[in-house]
Structure formats: structure tokens, C-alpha cells
Amino acid sequence: MRQGAVLIAALAAVLACGPLVLDGYLLSLLALAFAFAFFGSAWSLMMGFAGILSLGHGLYVGIGGYTVAVGLVTFGLSPWLGLPLAGLLCAAAGAAIAWTGFRFAVRGVYFALLTLAAAELARILFEHWPLVGGTGGFFLPALGAGNVPLLSLRGGPDFFYLAFLVLMTAGLLVTLAIRHSRMGYRLMAIREDEDAARASGVPVLRMRIAVAALSGAMTGIGGGMFGLMNGSLFPGSIMGVAASIEVMIAPIVGGLGTVFGPAVGALFVMPVHELSEHLAQEAGVFGLNTLIYGLLVLVVVVFLPAGLAPSVARLLRGRR
């Protein structure tokens, strides 16, 4: 574990030099990649450790985003308080969904669809809730000249690059810590054989609720920051099915059950988005970007069953 922590710290240190050498475009692009790496780590806690598939993580991105944004604009709440609040609310939501699933013995694919239904219900409700602006959207004011990024938690591309770098690093460390903790072993036991785990004394319900709450909380905090970066929120785009799917692609492509999977996946997916858009522009064909992106994800899923991270690790090890 110490080796992993050192690696993560080293990676973070190197990446932290980004604002010194990279331009605004690369900083923005990487900020997005780090954001989805963080979302991916959060989602992966449920899937990678406990084997629980969630198709509705957009719910937490949305609740987190709106909590921080509405807290700031409508209630004057500083994001330093808004973010932990977002985490708490999302932890509660995650726990509630996990408890419901457990209580009614909803498992596997059914539970996945339950999470999807919960996210869609929330989206529809948010679309009709005047407090958050409904489908009209919720908007943050422009940053004034006297903006202090560390106070307002909003700034230019360099700020969001560093902010999401911090979050991504935290996500990696949390994943690493859980991997080597009792909680981690218990979750993996549940994933392998829930009945045997229960028979061995693992408190299954408590574990499921705990991982769902943690996963939700992390996603919510990321969502809060995401909303601050975008400057506006709409229920359809921040908590819709598309958002939930986007959260999942990076960790699955990167490799589940590995600490670095979500990060590798996100750092693959974002440039692929940009590359396919560039190719489509060059070719002058609209929609080619969707096609290319889909093909590349397909290729990875088909030919690299364990995801990219193990292959990358093998490559790096082979070099030494």
C-alpha cells in the first residue's frame, strides 16, 4: 500500500506543475478528465469492490451540483460549506437507495435499473422544481475582477485543473486505502459470495449502505465542483441517463478493480473525444465523432477485457 501511496503522491506532484507549462486549453481538457477520473473512482467503489452496478450515478452529480450552486446563489452559502453539504445529502441518498434495494432483496441487474429509475425520477422532479430553476436552468453569476479562487472555489482553467487534480488524487487515495482495509476485504467478500460472507459474520447490509453512501458522497462533491466549473446547471444534462453513462465509461474502459483504472480510463476517453471531434472537423462530416468514439470504446471493450490499466501497467513494467 505504501508503494501505491507514493506512486499516487508522485503522480499528483508531477501533474501539479501543469499550470506552469500547459495552456488554457490543455488545462481545461485535463480538468474535465480529472473530474471524470474522480467520478469514476467514486462509481468504482461500488462496482469494483462490492460488485454493485449503479446506472444512476448522475443522481449524485446533480444533487451535488445543485446543492452547491443553489446554496451559493440563493442562500449565500460558501462552496466551502456547500461541498460538504452536497456530500452529506448524496450520502443520505445513496444510503437510502442501498437500504431499499437490500430490504426488498433487489439485486444485480434489477438493482442497477432501480438506480436508473431513481435518477430519472429525481430528474423529472428537478425539472419541475422552481427553486432550482427547473428546465429553465440555474445560472451562476460571472466572476468579477476581485474574485479570489480559493474563497469562491471558482476561477480560470488553472484553478479548476488544480481543484480536480486534488479531487482525483483524493479519489485514488481513498480507493487505495479501502483496498487494503477491512472494509475493502469485506466488500470483496460480499462481491464474491454474499451468502458466504454473511455466514462469516460480515455485516452485509451495513457494508452495502456504507459503500453506497461513500460513493454517492464523493460523486456529489465532484458534482458540486462540476457545476461551479460550468456556470449553469440543467436537470437533463447533469442528472440524465447520458450523465450516468458518461460516469461509467472511463472506469470500465480503464479497468475495474484497479486503483488507477478510472484515471487511466478518463485520460484515454477525454483525448479520444477531442481526437474524434478533430477528425470529424477535418473530414467535414458531422456525426463522425460519435462513430469514431463508439468504435474506439468498442475496440477496448472487446480486445482488452480487463481494461486499459492492466495493459498500461504491463507496458510500464516491461520497460523497466
Binding site: 486549453y25 481545461s28 427547473g134 445560472f139 466572476l143 482553467p157 440543467f234 471531434e277 472537423q281 458531422f286
Partner: protein, 403 residues
């Protein structure tokens, strides 16, 4: 002492006289970044806007306008890509941006534009907040919802005078997306204040993804309101008209108070003569402007299967506004372009309205609205009378008489 040869002096004078529109000091073209959703769910208006941009760029170059180099970025209809697209274009050297159709994407791009001090010329985006959140780099040449409704009320009043009758009641049927909600809110705020004697008896909203609008149309019909006011996208406009035909729902008129949909080619193709006489109040091109026919003809030549509608028109005009600012700025420096945009005052332009000027929030308050009506499966301007191409048909011909 600086000796200027006679030839050089004459050449210089000749150049100054012969091409007053070109920038004397300009050697490199000014890079203009365009951010649009040309793929993804917003691809229909995104691609239409793109056509307007490309057309304007070509016509501008041929007319000897300031040299602009257009760089495109596709956001794939995801609003978080607005910021990244803006950053990329700025990195490519763009000193002015145009975009981004979708309000969320526009705000996202505005964050980047504001931080980099690069002006953003908004071609289309209707959320009022785009020019209310305090962005100093944002200029919008499109009507926010309030302005759309004010224009619509004016047009409806005129229509009432021309046909000698005004519907007494109305039902507002709107799609529950950003635009539809903004319009519904503007109607709620302004309708009675503007003093128009039409009572809105009910407001119904339907989901964007709804594929079946029979219940919604049935409820609208059950209100017995004389006027149906739909605010739709192109898909739902088609669905609504089909339902109206099936349910034999014939109000006195169908007037969208600011709505996409009925003027689009996909609509008129899909519902044919059943889509005729559907009216909508939108910002549109002025058919009486002397330059309009040439632009329309050129568009028809280059895009024979498409229609020149407001997405095309306002994107076209955005390029013209940027070109005008670049010309007056005399350089490609973003601060100079920004200063020039602030003092924009264009009287002759093809989209209907007063002179293009930007107030202190960057909003153009002079954009007009016309009343369009589909006749012969083409949208025709039927109001205001000064620029009308055709006479409004009122009341609505029953659908069963149209077979």
C-alpha cells in the same frame, strides 16, 4: 527625411480610396472561433447555424470584406464542452468567438471567454440569463424570452386589426425544455401587463422526450380556447399537428409566441398541407431588405435541400457583426474588437429590426419579431404589414377540408 516615391504615394492613395473596407494595416486574417453543437441531440439547429456561418464567411470574402479565418468546434451537444471548445479556439489564435446556440454551452464558453478577455458574439441563445449574469465579454444578437413575447404581442395585436377579429381565449402548450420554460415564464410575467385582451385559460407543458402527445392535445382541445399557442421543437410540432388532425381540433388560429418548429423544412415536409396556416412569431429575415434576395438565392444554390431560417440568418448576421467590428477595430486584437463591438451601430442588416446596437449588458434591444405563416408549405412573412410577403389567413381552415 523619409522619401516616398511618387509611385508608392500614388499606390498608397489608390489603395486607400479603392478599398476603404479593407484594413490598411492588416496582413494576417483575423481568426474567428465558432462553437456549435453540430452533432448530438442539438444537431439540427447546430448544423443550420453552421450553414449560416459558412455562407456568410464565403460571401464576405467575395465582397472584399476584412479577412476572417473561421475555426470550428463541435460541442456534441454537451454543455461542459463549451468551455473546452472556447479554450481550444483561443489557443488556436482566435481573438473573437461566436456561439453557442444552447444556453448552457454558451455560459460555459462565456466563462472561458471572460477569463481570457476574448469577446463572445452569441448568435442564438434565448435564456435571459446569458446577458444578466454580469459577463462583460458577451454580446448577444438574439432576443431573450421577454423580448420575444413583447414582439409577439405586438404582432398578434396587428393581426387582430388586419383580420378584424381577435380570439378571446388561448391555451399555451409548451415543451418543457429551457426555451419552452423561458417563454412560459415570460408569458406569465408579461401577458396581462402588455394589455392584450386574450385570456390564457390554461398552460400545459409536455416533456421533451414525449413521443405521444395525444393526451396533451386532447387537454388543449378540451379547454375550448379559441387560440392555440404552441411552443415546441420541430419534432413535437409535427406530432401536435398530426394529433390535431386526428382529433379534429380546429381552433380559430395556431400562433406560436416565439417557437422553433413550424418554419423548418422537416416540419413542412412531414405534415404537408396540414401544417399550413400555422403561425409563429419569431425573429426572422426582412424580406424587403435589398440584400436579402441575393443571400437567399445564394443559400438555395449552395444548400438546395435546406431552408434559410432563423438559425441560419442569425448565424449569418453574427459573422457580419464580427466583420464590421474587425473593420472598425483595424486589427485582430481582442481588446480592440471588444471595444469596436461595444460601439456597433449597423442600420442595414438582413434580420428584421432596428439598428444593431449593444446595451451595457451586451444585449441588442432592437431585434424585431415577425409573424410567419405557413402557406403552400413555405413560411411567409405576414406581419408587420410594412414587410409582409403575404396576407394572413384567418381563421384556420378545418383539416378535413384540406385533403
Amino acid at each position: 527625411m523619409i522619401r516616398i516615391s511618387r509611385r508608392a504615394a500614388l499606390a498608397g492613395a489608390g489603395a486607400a480610396l479603392a478599398a476603404p473596407a479593407t484594413i490598411r494595416a492588416q496582413s494576417a486574417p483575423v481568426k474567428v472561433g465558432v462553437i456549435l453543437p453540430t452533432s448530438g441531440v442539438l444537431a439540427v439547429p447546430g448544423q443550420a447555424s453552421r450553414r449560416g456561418i459558412d455562407l456568410a464567411a464565403r460571401m464576405l470574402a467575395e465582397a472584399g470584406g476584412p479577412r476572417l479565418e473561421i475555426h470550428h468546434a463541435d460541442t456534441a451537444s454537451r454543455s461542459e464542452n463549451g468551455r473546452v471548445a472556447a479554450e481550444r479556439l483561443i489557443r488556436e489564435g482566435c481573438t473573437v468567438l461566436i456561439g453557442a446556440w444552447d444556453s448552457g454551452t454558451t455560459i460555459s464558453a462565456a466563462q472561458a471567454a471572460e477569463a481570457a478577455r476574448v469577446p463572445l458574439m452569441v448568435n442564438i441563445a434565448s435564456a435571459p440569463q446569458v446577458t444578466e449574469q454580469g459577463f462583460s465579454m458577451v454580446f448577444r444578437n438574439f432576443t431573450p424570452a421577454n423580448q420575444l413575447i413583447t414582439n409577439a404581442v405586438e404582432r398578434i395585436r396587428e393581426l387582430g386589426q388586419i383580420v378584424g377579429e381577435m380570439p378571446r381565449t388561448a391555451v399555451l402548450l409548451h415543451v418543457n425544455d429551457t426555451f419552452g420554460t423561458a417563454i412560459a415564464q415570460a408569458v406569465a410575467a408579461l401577458w396581462t401587463r402588455l394589455g392584450i385582451p386574450i385570456q390564457i385559460v390554461e398552460t400545459l407543458s409536455y416533456a421533451v422526450t414525449a413521443r405521444d402527445l395525444s393526451a396533451e392535445v386532447a387537454r388543449a382541445k378540451a379547454t375550448n380556447a379559441e387560440l392555440l399557442m404552441p411552443v415546441t421543437r420541430v419534432n413535437d410540432a409535427i406530432l401536435i399537428v398530426r394529433e390535431m388532425v386526428r382529433q379534429d381540433y380546429v381552433p380559430k388560429a395556431i400562433i406560436g409566441p416565439g417557437s422553433p418548429g413550424p418554419y423548418e423544412k422537416a416540419f413542412t415536409d412531414a405534415v404537408g398541407r396540414f401544417g399550413d396556416e400555422y403561425m409563429v412569431c419569431v425573429p426572422w429575415h426582412n424580406p424587403r431588405n435589398p440584400r436579402t434576395p441575393a443571400v437567399l438565392q445564394r443559400f438555395a444554390r449552395e444548400y438546395p435541400n435546406e431552408r434559410f431560417e432563423l438559425n441560419v440568418g442569425f448565424s449569418f448576421e453574427a459573422v457580419e457583426i464580427v466583420a464590421d467590428a474587425v473593420r472598425r477595430a483595424g486589427s485582430g486584437d481582442p481588446a480592440a474588437i471588444h471595444a469596436a463591438l461595444r460601439t456597433t451601430d449597423i442600420a442595414d442588416h438582413i434580420m428584421y429590426g432596428g439598428p444593431i446596437r449593444f446595451d451595457e449588458k451586451g444585449q441588442n434591444p432592437n431585434i424585431g419579431g415577425v409573424m410567419l405563416q405557413n402557406q403552400g408549405q413555405e413560411p411567409k412573412v405576414v406581419g408587420p404589414s410594412a414587410i409582409a410577403e403575404a396576407r394572413a389567413i384567418y381563421p384556420l381552415t378545418p383539416f378535413r377540408n384540406r385533403r
